[in-house]
C-alpha cells in the first residue's frame, strides 16, 4: 500500500522559513494551543511526516506521544533556531529504557 504523502513542518516562524524553500509545507505557530490544533489537523490530513521544532514540541509533548503507537504519521522533533534542547534525545533515551528495562545503552556509551 503506497500512497502519495506530504511533509509538514510546525514551529516558530524563524526556524521553519527555510523549509518553505524546499517545498515542504510549513505552519508557523505561536501558542501551544495553536500548535496542538495544527498538529491534529496535519495528522488527519495527508501528512506522513510532521516535523515539530523543539521549542514548540516541549509544550505539546503529550499530544505528540499520542501518535507514537501508529505507523503513520511520524511526528518528529527537530532542533529549532534557538539551539537544541535535547528533548529528542531524551525521548529516545526513555524509549530505550522502556524497551530494555534499564538505561544500559546511554549509560555505557555516554550521552554524547
Amino acid at each position: 500500500m503506497a500512497h502519495m504523502h506530504k511533509i509538514a513542518v510546525i514551529g516558530d516562524e524563524g526556524s521553519i522559513m527555510g523549509f518553505r524553500a524546499l517545498g515542504v509545507d510549513t505552519f508557523a505557530v505561536a501558542t501551544a494551543h495553536e500548535a496542538r490544533e495544527t498538529l491534529r489537523a496535519a495528522a488527519r490530513g495527508q501528512y506522513a511526516i510532521i516535523y515539530v521544532t523543539e521549542g514548540v514540541a516541549s509544550d505539546i509533548i503529550d499530544t505528540i506521544t499520542e501518535y507514537g503507537h501508529k505507523p503513520l504519521p511520524v511526528v518528529l522533533t527537530i532542533p529549532d533556531s534557538s539551539g537544541k534542547k535535547g528533548a529528542a534525545m531524551e525521548k529516545i533515551r526513555r524509549t530505550v529504557e522502556k524497551a530494555l528495562g534499564a538505561d544500559i545503552l546511554f549509560g555505557k556509551e555516554g550521552n554524547a
Partner: protein, 213 residues
C-alpha cells in the same frame, strides 16, 4: 495463581502436555525477544548517528538564515522564499521488522526548470548566506526522512519488545512454575493412593490367610 485439578492420571497427562507446550512457547518467545533486541539496538545506534548529523547541519542552516535576515530585510527573505521551486514527493509504505509494521519512505525532489538550480529566487537581491543555508537544508532532507523512518521504528519496536518481554516473564515466572507445582501435587496424590491401595491389599491378604488356616 494456583492451578487446581483433580488428581488423576488424565489430568496428569494434560498437565504434562501443557507444561511442554509452555516451555516450547517460552523458548520461541525468548529467541524472538533476543533477535528483536539486536535489531532494536542497531536502529537506536543509527538513530543517534542521524540525530547528531541533523543537529549539526540544522544548527548551521539556522545560523545562515539568521545571517541572511540580518543582511537583508526580513521582508526580502520572506519574498525570496515565497514561491518554492522544489516540491518534495514522498511515498509512504510499510515494511515489517520481526512482524512489527513500520513505515518506509521513498522520496524525491521535483524541480521546476533548471535542475541544478535549487534556489527559488534570483541572486540579485539575496545574500549568499541564504544560498548556503538553503543548500544545507536541502542536503539534510534525506537524513531527515531517514530519521523519521528510523525513529518511528525504534518507537514501535520498543512497545513490541515490552509486550514480548512481559509474555516471556509471565511464562517463565508464573505459568511454568505453576504447572510444575500442579504436576507435583497430582503425582504425590497418585503415589499416596497407590500406597494406600497396597496396604489395603496386604491387610486383606492377611485376613484371608488367618481365616483359611
Amino acid at each position: 495463581m494456583e492451578i487446581r485439578v483433580s488428581p488423576n492420571r488424565m489430568q496428569l497427562l494434560a498437565l504434562k502436555r501443557r507444561h511442554s507446550m509452555a516451555v516450547r512457547g517460552h523458548k520461541l518467545l525468548k529467541d524472538k525477544l533476543d533477535e528483536m533486541l539486536r535489531r532494536f539496538l542497531e536502529l537506536v545506534k543509527r538513530d543517534r548517528e542521524l540525530r547528531a548529523a541533523i543537529d549539526e547541519s540544522l544548527a548551521q542552516a539556522f545560523q545562515g538564515f539568521l545571517l541572511a535576515r540580518a543582511a537583508m530585510s526580513s521582508e526580502a527573505v520572506d519574498v525570496a522564499l515565497m514561491y518554492p521551486k522544489e516540491h518534495i514527493s514522498l511515498t509512504a509504505s510499510q515494511k515489517s521488522i520481526m512482524n512489527v509494521a513500520v513505515p518506509s519512505f521513498s522520496w524525491s525532489f521535483e524541480r521546476q526548470g533548471d535542475e541544478s538550480n535549487i534556489y527559488p529566487y534570483g541572486f540579485a537581491y539575496t545574500s549568499s548566506e541564504l544560498d548556503s543555508a538553503i543548500k544545507l537544508l536541502s542536503e539534510s532532507m534525506s537524513s531527515l526522512v531517514e530519521l523519521a523512518e528510523v525513529e518511528k521504528s525504534v518507537e514501535l519496536m520498543a512497545s513490541e519488545i515490552e509486550r514480548t518481554r512481559r509474555r516471556v516473564n509471565a511464562l517463565e515466572y508464573v505459568l511454568i512454575p505453576d504447572l510444575e507445582r500442579a504436576t507435583k501435587y497430582v503425582t504425590m496424590k497418585l503415589d499416596e493412593a497407590e500406597r494406600g491401595n497396597l496396604t489395603r491389599l496386604m491387610k486383606v491378604k492377611e485376613m484371608v490367610r488367618e481365616r483359611g488356616v
